[in-house]
Symmetry: C2
Subunit: 235 residues, 2 copies
Amino acid sequence: MEANSAARGRTAPGETRASGGKEGRYHHGDLRNALIRAAIELAAEGGPDAVVLRAAARKVGVSATAAYRHFEGQGDLLGAVKEYGQQRLVACMEAVGRASEDVGPRTVTDRMMELGRGYVRFAREEPGLYRTAFCRKALGAVGLTEEGGLADVEGEQPGWETRSFELLTETLDDAVAAGLITPERRPGAELSAWAMVHGVAMLFLDGPLGTLTDEESSYVVDRVLTDILAGLMSS
Amino acid sequence: MEANSAARGRTAPGETRASGGKEGRYHHGDLRNALIRAAIELAAEGGPDAVVLRAAARKVGVSATAAYRHFEGQGDLLGAVKEYGQQRLVACMEAVGRASEDVGPRTVTDRMMELGRGYVRFAREEPGLYRTAFCRKALGAVGLTEEGGLADVEGEQPGWETRSFELLTETLDDAVAAGLITPERRPGAELSAWAMVHGVAMLFLDGPLGTLTDEESSYVVDRVLTDILAGLMSS
DNA sequence: CGCAGGATGTTTACGCCGTCAACATGATGA
DNA sequence: TCATCATGTTGACGGCGTAAACATCCTGCG
């Protein structure tokens, strides 16, 4: 009770409790976002398994159960990080595209390559966030009953129709418009493309490509992307 | 090897602990395998996260710490399940091939398709085991320091040069021999192929393909495999 | 045959986790 | 002003992985 005024003192060095000045405030003021930021750091360092409710609360300097005022539980917190990771992914994919834009005009094929390069680059640069972005177990909006019963409420699937998938879809449509892909081969093409980049990212993160240098990996990525594009555009 | 109950029987009337008999034997007799079997069930039902040391011990009817006489820890137990899952995967890949053999002669292309079909079929039929088979965190032989420091002792990488990868490699070699893939495109081809099947399996397990029927999924798989093979074999 | 010693299993305990219930604090609006 | 309610806190529970100490049984050696 009164003795814990000492505990009120200070815990997390990097996190001020409130945006402003006063330190020992009982109410944080922006706890939800602070917890998300902390969880993002955890995820970036250790992947989804490292997104531990108590650790995030500790980082912010707040009791573990305080998080329950802002999240349904750790699955919900994880979901917030997941969303952030997905945003970062599309940002990376778009950034690669913009970088190329500056150099000169690009073909549709170029743009597809860029999407793939951006995807893999993000997976390599932020493996923890990437893994978290595609982590099952993470409350989306409502769902997930006890015992894995797929609640599957109305509304949205986890995260496959996010912007990153849209980017791919749009570019494939452009490829059809440009005559690079025949309309008959168009349906399902995003599956092949997506499976490829996702698969090669996994080879980098968990597989035999983990030790490659940037240069080597960029060669491998281009090779793999070339293969799948050749397949999609064949005849 | 399923009938190895109580290989140890001396005079005790009771049979195995798990086989419904009277428990009372202090020593189990085949605890290591019993734990692995239990852990396999757990993995099959709930994936790698469900491989819980205490749960496996409970299933076998033994104290939690008994497992430490046979495994270094839960990572080691998980590793055993992982190995089993990998074996099941290659069994499935080979089974699809054998099934086709019976029907008639196959081309190299056929055999590559079969490998992919078998791979995805296993992922669909045994998602928990599949996920466990490709689960990071699982002691291989020695490694894995504290704190994710990749011990990377000498010897073997986790599991990428297992038989399943070999199957793919051999078949790709055959494709080169048959003139379907040019020697210049051969190096790195397994990466494309592996990334593709791994990626499409993920689309089934965690992605938008999870709800497809067998027929639909088989169509999608063939489509995706056709794409990558076309890419690999294009000029 | 008898018994020491190692192999195997049990109990207890520690610290971590997610989560719930009860309580404390303080911002806010009637 | 002061009751209310959102926001944090403490405490507790059960489950987890794991270590240490103890118990039981098998086995090989005399």
